[in-house]
């Protein structure tokens, strides 16, 4: 009997140690994710989390003509004011683990949810990035610009980071994306935001305080306390 109790005690102790270890491991994982800027719900810190909310504060791109070099050393000028559709600027790095997905996806046949969108990849300049290494990653069919100046001008907060600009240089949306799917969602949201509230389905939308004020209904108005008419 004593032996059974001892064995049970040992088993319980071992289970307790196991649970403690698992909890510690989980806590460490959460700490590491937090350090990378990923919240528990999977959203990335600094990401508007497909709301299209701007994080650099730019209404218009700080530069609509981007100058730098390509991976072969050629001097390059890229325009954001070409007037024919949007430009998706993808700020990527050769050493960024999260950027690997985007280097890979941009090298294949990809479709973006925003129409007439041209993708331009921007990395830091040759002073900060290896042209050879970037060249190995560079999608063969996309324009790529290496420029510290552009990086600084756009106040790129992290990599990967994306900015969607229309043909006149206006910023339509921006944000970080942790995955290809996340980027597509960000673009869809930017497109929806740019389309404006008129495109949304307002049937079930509750009127905001501003809507009521605009309609001449102020706090204390009797209509706010009337029972709704049954229209059945």
């Amino acid at each position: 009997m004593t032996a059974v109790i001892v064995i049970e005690g040992v088993v319980i102790l071992l289970l307790a140690v196991l649970v403690a270890g698992l909890l510690k491991s989980h806590a460490e994982i959460l700490r590491q994710l937090n350090a990378l800027g990923v919240a528990e719900d999977g959203s990335v810190a600094g990401t508007p989390a497909p709301s299209g909310r701007k994080t650099t504060g730019f209404e218009k791109a700080p530069a609509t003509t981007l100058t730098g070099v390509d991976t072969s050393g050629a001097d390059v000028v890229v325009s954001l004011e070409h007037g024919r559709g949007n430009t998706l600027i993808a700020f990527l790095s050769s050493g960024c683990l999260s950027c690997e997905t985007f280097w890979h996806e941009f090298s294949g046949d990809f479709d973006l949810p925003t129409p007439d969108t041209r993708t331009v990849i921007v990395t830091k300049g040759p002073e900060s990035e290896s042209p050879a290494k970037v060249g190995e990653l560079a999608p063969p069919r996309l324009p790529l610009l290496m420029s510290n100046q552009v990086w600084d001008l756009f106040r790129v907060p992290m990599t990967p980071y994306f900015l969607l600009v229309d043909g006149s240089g206006q910023v339509v949306g921006e944000g970080a994306a942790a995955s290809w799917r996340h980027l597509l969602g960000l673009l869809r949201q930017s497109q929806a935001d740019a389309a404006g509230p008129g495109q949304a389905d307002n049937r079930n939308r509750q009127p905001s305080d501003e809507d009521l004020r605009n309609a001449g209904v102020h706090p204390g108005d009797p209509s706010l306390y009337e029972k709704p008419v049954n229209r059945d």
């Binding site: 609509t64 050629a74 001097d75 325009s79 070409h82 007037g83 024919r84 041209r118 063969p140």
Partner: protein, 151 residues
């Protein structure tokens, strides 16, 4: 407005245009220098395009311009093909031809000129998006050529 500058070649890039300039510095194994190639376009330029605009001219609309300036070796300077002296400026509509295209695309018009300037030999190749509208497009081409300097 931006400028492209390399190997003594300078040009202003108009707002909304794109461009690139490469070569001119690298010495090749046979002692020759890598050719300088300048591209200018009034439309978004694709990566991986050919020296004379293949894979780019296909993207042009009727109002677009593509320009390529290619330097040849010093042995070509003042040779018969490159006998014309000085940078071509103030181009005329009659100089453009539907058949003067490296890649013949419907409606487009082209011009290819060879010249020597300050002992350097060049080919200037220009594609207009529309032969019919070349009179409307040409002023923008000439405005760019007015800013082209070769030292």
């Amino acid at each position: 407005m931006s400028r492209l500058e390399r190997s003594g070649i300078e040009v202003e890039v108009p707002v909304g245009w794109e461009g690139s300039i490469s070569g001119g510095g690298l010495e090749l194994a046979d002692g020759a220098r890598e050719s300088t190639v300048l591209h200018l376009a009034s439309f978004p330029l694709p990566a991986g395009r050919g020296t004379f605009g293949s894979d780019a001219v296909e993207l042009m609309n009727g109002q677009d311009v593509f320009m390529a300036l290619l330097e040849y070796g010093p042995e070509s300077a003042d040779s018969p093909l490159f006998a014309a002296q000085g940078i071509p400026r103030r181009l005329q509509t009659r100089q453009f031809d539907r058949d003067a295209l490296q890649r013949a695309l419907p409606g487009q018009s082209g011009l290819q000129l060879f010249f020597t300037h300050r002992g350097r030999a060049f080919c200037l190749y220009i594609v207009l998006g529309s032969h019919v509208d070349r009179a409307d497009i040409l002023p923008r081409v000439n405005a760019v050529l007015d800013t082209l300097e070769i030292r």
